[in-house]
Symmetry: C2
Subunit: 121 residues, 2 copies
């Protein structure tokens, strides 16, 4: 019997912007939905498996814009669905500020190659 | 010429549980995705309009479980897509604890009938 593949989504959030709790949560939700939709289009079987397993979401910390972009590059290299969020600039931040990166849902072992060393927010 | 209908999603989060920032953000993302999927199934034209308009998401405060359930009742009465989240209980909270309620995407004027008097988180 084969082992089940374990799926998760990780959302990486910048901690250097001083976003308030509600702002941060909305940005994380943007990244989560954006990356989930990319997964649903490209790898619908991953998406369904993730949902069946309870759609695990984990939020971790990044130090700044460069960090997010490096992580996105790694995610792309591995072929993982991802979504980098830039703020619309209506409140708190300047327009175009990157805030969060969603990665997955995807097999946890692959996501960990990108975000495995990041700390929980 | 008709005015454009303005769409938004509101996520209501309990502030009485003392959730950490990352936990809170993950719960908000669950509610956002759950309610967005309900909208996509039931009212795909609302979903597409909301996305085209930049998928506005607003996070507001609720005082506790009863408050969330009252708001969900109102949302249902108005026929608005919604998703009440119960935590899986793996970290911080007891299994089954309600944490957040996602409402919409839906026309802002309808969402405001449910959440218009709640404060931003």
């Amino acid at each position: 019997m084969w082992g089940l593949t374990d799926f998760k989504q990780v959302i990486v959030a910048r901690t250097d912007l001083g976003m308030g709790k509600g702002k941060l949560a909305a940005q994380v939700a943007h990244a989560s939905l954006g990356s989930a939709e990319e997964c649903r289009r490209r790898s619908p079987e991953w998406y369904e498996d993730w949902k069946q397993q309870g759609q695990a979401k984990v939020v971790v910390k990044a130090t700044g814009e460069e960090h997010l972009r490096e992580l996105q590059k790694k995610a792309r290299t591995l072929g993982l669905p991802n979504s980098l969020i830039q703020d619309a600039g209506l409140t708190q931040l300047e327009e175009g500020t990157t805030t969060c990166l969603g990665i997955g849902p995807a097999p946890s072992s692959l996501v960990d190659k990108v975000t495995g060393d990041l700390k929980l927010l």
